[in-house]
Symmetry: C2
């Protein structure tokens, strides 16, 4: 499996993806799922993928070929981000169709789903989800993040924290917590994490790094979050039935002190 | 959908379930998913269900019939909890088979999955998951909780917090947080929540209550958790690139103060 999350806040865009690819439990590999295409001053794009690795790589090869050969349409030609997304969608549909060519039904699911984030000069930044059918939906102020892959474990913290006014670095920290929660709860999502920050109107990458279990940045956030969650749990209000029970056992004052 | 979680700690058992049943988006109802069967001093059982409501009610009707008619096997007869689970499993298989009787294929999934928690005099408390096939798995010290239904949103907090040494009331608070996170992120799981606490060797219910959005207990835990998560997020370590950026903009001391 895979887990990728893209976040759009007023300050810019955050992308975070894991790197675990598994064809089966005994065929697990590491592959980057974030791919960056930067043309400084003109456009800054980042693409994340979930689903069939062969399909994803076929799409990436087609995108690179069109760039190299200065094709009539490539990542560099559209003036609007949604047209870039539709171009990627058309390559995605073509790559999936190729596997089924000749009427053979593929015995596995060959679909991929992608998230495109970035900005083209003259436009505001954008965050778009590209479905296997090639159709596209955008993030919005009410829905400021998009996820693909194993998305449920890491969704609650995004729902609680992410707003358009969230700072870019706070959004990045929240994305890492969302990845960390998923990695802890699902063995099909794994380290290292690729993290990308794109600041609005910079038209280049602000930050781009890979974080593994030994990265001080990731260690610090992971350990601080774990410690703070445990502390928060211990500070939740007591139940009505606890007061009497603790009073009975002479522990009431101690519990009251913990409530401070 | 449904979300139910059962937790087994040294002090006893916690069960928490939502009450939203949906046949479709425009057919949403409220049904209890926790059913308690208490024979004080002999056995204390609680059963939670996810899946097809017709199947669940058929099973409950069969369990009650066997109790009322003093059948050879009922919830009251086995001396071991796993035999109670296997009895329930056999009724579950029978209820599912009845729908498909006559060779008609049901156009909807008629399967249910259940969690049985409780204790029989002479045994230790137990927590068991009953699959649609009637087979059963138990919780263990390494896997001290079981979930059915929409389980992924609420799993990370259980993985982080629940250990056999967790107190019964802390486990109940964690179960409510797990439900709250799921309810916030998935519209198919909804209030009110049924909460059940069974203390080891009491052979009766310790607490049993229904919590809705107006319950002070639920409000307190929900609001305190939301506030503490936001505070925890704001206290996470900064990224290396933030120090220089903030120093450049004269905000470094302010950020350093927030780190205290």
């Amino acid at each position: 499996m895979t887990y990728c999350v893209g976040i759009q806040v007023d300050e810019g865009l955050v992308l975070a993806s894991d790197t675990r690819t598994s064809a089966s439990f005994d065929d697990v590999r590491v592959y980057a799922k974030t791919h960056r295409f930067v043309f400084p001053g003109d456009r800054c794009l980042a693409l994340m993928s979930a689903g069939n690795l062969g399909t994803t790589q076929a799409v990436l090869s087609r995108l690179q070929r069109d760039l190299d050969e200065n094709a009539a349409v490539s990542l560099r030609t559209p003036r609007r981000l949604f047209e870039v997304a539709e171009y990627i969608g058309s390559q995605l549909v073509a790559a999936q169709a190729q596997v089924n060519r000749g009427g053979r039904q593929a015995p596995v699911n060959v679909e991929s789903t992608m998230i495109l984030a970035g900005q083209i000069a003259g436009e505001r930044p954008g965050l778009l989800l590209i479905y296997p059918l090639g159709n596209v939906i955008a993030a919005s102020p009410e829905t400021p993040y998009l996820q693909i892959g194993e998305s449920k474990y890491g969704k609650p913290i995004l729902d609680r924290i992410i707003r358009p006014s969230t700072s870019l670095n706070d959004a990045a920290r929240c994305a890492l917590v969302s990845l960390d929660s998923t990695i802890r709860s699902n063995v099909s999502v794994g380290l290292p994490i690729d993290l990308t920050l794109i600041r609005s109107d910079a038209l280049q990458l602000a930050e781009s790094c890979r974080l593994d279990e030994y990265s001080p940045v990731y260690q610090g956030i992971r350990d601080s979050w774990a410690d703070q969650l445990a502390a928060a749990m211990s500070r939740l209000p007591t139940f009505p039935w606890e007061a009497s029970r603790l009073a009975d056992s002479g522990l009431w004052q101690q519990a009251a002190a913990q409530q401070q």
